[in-house]
Point group: C4
């Protein structure tokens, strides 16, 4: 007796679109990945005047092809999920919508500039595809280490900001408008440029006193870069160690996504969604 029921076309489509361990799912992800990268390249090339003049028609048609492909994908994602609204208002649901609509908007309002940003957001969809990367085990510790150090790094960045504001105000008073420090926000901007060791040089202190304070800012910035690095190093080392002991925690997760509630990270042996109890199709 075959216990697993025969899958309908909707379930099959769901597996292809939302999962990555079947050949169909892998192919779908690969094609989607290529379309997204091509789309981003076209957004970039379109912004280059000389290229846009020559290949305007080609870029326009390509954008229409990509938009239609994304539209089909968006509709397919909606109809293969049991609770479509859950998908529509999820993070990736919104990203998918925003990735699809720019060309339709331009039909109505004309080719407004800001649509380029909307189209660049498509790149975020790559992260969903890179769900695959998680299986490489490459970034798990890294993500945990970053989560563990989030609070500390926030406190650190907040301190950096306070230092930048106070030193920026002082530099504004010392250098003044005639040397490019034309107001406090600009001085604070300069201070961040210097503290982070970026150093554009569009604004640079001219007075000896300003250069002296700038030297202190730079040495300070050079010293405090050690802090976030030290935090991440230590957390990452801490994350790497317990893993060897707690091997019983090392359950392997698969790339399935629940048809009902879109929950991910199911265990390999799971038959039912841990979140809503829906039957999972392996």
């Amino acid at each position: 007796m075959d216990i697993t029921p025969k899958k309908g076309w909707r379930t099959k489509l769901h597996d292809i679109i939302y999962e990555a361990d079947t050949p169909g799912g892998k192919l779908f992800d690969l094609v989607l990945f290529i379309v997204i990268i091509a789309s981003i390249l076209f957004v970039m090339l379109e912004s280059v005047n000389s290229i846009d003049e020559k290949y305007h028609n080609f870029l326009d048609i390509s954008e229409w092809v990509i938009t239609i492909l994304f539209t089909i994908e968006y509709i397919a994602r909606i109809i293969t999920v049991k609770k479509p609204l859950n998908y529509v208002f999820s993070f990736y649901g919104i990203i998918d919508l925003l990735s699809t609509i720019p060309k339709y908007i331009s039909l109505i309002f004309g080719g407004i500039h800001a649509l380029a940003a909307l189209r660049a957001l498509r790149l975020l969809r790559v992260f969903r595809i890179l769900k695959l990367a998680r299986y490489l085990g490459a970034s798990n510790n890294l993500v945990n280490a970053l989560k563990a150090s989030k609070a500390k790094i926030s406190v650190f960045l907040f301190a950096v900001l306070i230092i930048a504001i106070i030193l920026g105000t002082i530099m504004y008073l010392v250098e003044g408008e005639e040397n490019g420090f034309s107001n406090i926000p600009k001085s604070v901007y300069w201070c961040i440029v210097t503290l982070t060791t970026v150093g554009f040089g569009d604004i640079a202190p001219q007075t000896p006193l300003g250069q002296f304070i700038a030297s202190l800012v730079m040495i300070l910035g050079y010293g405090i870069i050690a802090v976030p690095t030290g935090i991440v190093s230590a957390e990452y080392t801490a994350q790497s160690k317990p893993k060897k002991q707690d091997t019983h925690n090392n359950v392997s997760l698969n790339s399935q996504s629940c048809e009902n509630c879109l929950a991910e990270n199911h265990k390999d042996k799971a038959d039912y969604c841990y979140n809503c109890g829906e039957k999972l199709h392996i």
Copy 2:
């Protein structure tokens, strides 16, 4: 019999102003935080000519409102503490005073420029409010690690300074005034800009020999940035480990502040100030 005596209004006010674990204390800290941030924003906006011209009256009135709020707070802090002089001459006492007086000074002397720096110092008061942050346990290890590495980092920065002076003198001789290295202090400034990998580019070597020496300076700077980072990493790792063993040290501290001597970091169960023996009100 109720052992804890009925609190007077002064004690209640003291709890609200100096502590952060009652609802009143939390609200007070939140309001103060918002006022400080608003105040800093106004200082910044005032320095932007175009904004100051349009909204001069609004910014002027806002500053008066903030000054009056700070004045009330300053007086309240004095009258709710048993030994007011301790507060007045404490670090935060002085900061509080300096935060309050700029507008009064401008009444007498007119709106002198340097008052902006005094007003920016208000930002330091945020650290007192962030006493709350300590409860997140976020920055304790970090602070300890930084304290432990202070001596080593000082020695390191001192060595960097000596390198900068010697190399700066050499660059002054190699490049000379015609290429922007117009005197030794300026050359040393350039050397610090380069060693810390900031690289403004306002002064840059033009002669082949100068560029060769600059390359050495840069590679040196690139190499020695590893030193403070390594120190903090190692110290931070060291700080993180013993904590797990010495759990008996992990007493939880509260945000109370002694009414008498302003000492902080009392243990949760403490009934009397560890510093002066004054009764604490929980």
Copy 3:
């Protein structure tokens, strides 16, 4: 009875050219090292117009001498190896060929510019000679740590690239062509310049909003530099530790190279190639 057969001239030459533990082999490596470094210096000097004008003949003759030396070496490498094709199509075989031919090409096609790049590739041959460095035990752990962190650093760099593209598009919209952000690729370039804290300053944001976003980019870049550093630190620490325990793994390798298949990293006591079974001459 002498078991090791008398070595023929080919075997002797093979030992000198491919190995580094005989006096002859060391001398050969040293001479080759000097010739390569001299060759690179000449490539550099030739590109400086003022020097090329003065010493054109000397540089031309030097290049011919070096080319002939490399030709002799290349032929010697081919005839002393049992399977010459293996060598010719190996990585270093191709590099050796490319290092030798530029001057011959210039005879036919004239001194085309791109040959300089071909000649600079000679520098890669230094790594083969630095096979010696491996004996110092200096870089083994380092290489292992870098290999172990390759996947994680790739994921990290990929994330940096996505951030750069999205932020670059936003900066293109905010700043626009009039402030140097003339198209999206250029904005992405600026974003990478800023995220990596290089900060040339050839393009710098001019609008307050652009400077605000730039500040966020810089602080982000300052924060995420901690990630690769933390990864390498942790991996390197991990690589250093097990070594002390698994001393039985610490077999010493020598610099021999199999005459037949060019395999390297033979154990000191090995009599036969671990790869093809060919007898090794010690």
Copy 4:
């Protein structure tokens, strides 16, 4: 019977000049430290034209006073050491001589420019005085960690240099003279400026291909900064650990210096020099 013989004036003077644990020795070091710092400040100020014009006489007389003080010290160092030639040809002996002679040279040859560099070398003498710092235990681990990572960091810097030369040659071919990459040495200089994330911006790529390659160089530089940092972190952690176990190694050293051979780092309980057997005066 008093075993320790009465000290002669020479021995007393030796203790004051070469050692730092008597009150006299500490005072001598402090005075010397102040004189050196003052001397460096005068070198700097003298190079500033506007200051030199006003205070030329004061600076000239100060330099004479400092020179005479250094001359006295130099002579005292020679006569209080048993083997003067050992001192004269030691590292600090040469530095002391070079610190003293600039003013005498200027008497003969006039105030030649290069003497400033000679005078800046005086700063190196501060390291001898900071022998004191060693007692703080601050830099010992640090120095050991740096020594342990020296070989690895050299290999790493060598690899960086090879990368810079190859990429510099490619950039020279891609960008060419018209964009500031006027010859290969200059391109290599640019490449080092970029790899080390300094980024002056005096030379910046203008062509799209050049900017693309530059982006790769920057990301590479951003990635490889992790390497030296990781090395020093790991070595420093390794240096910190064994110390706790091997407390029997923790002998305290004093600041004595042997009168005969100038050897330092004697154990606190040592009665005779570990190097030459000379009696030490405590």
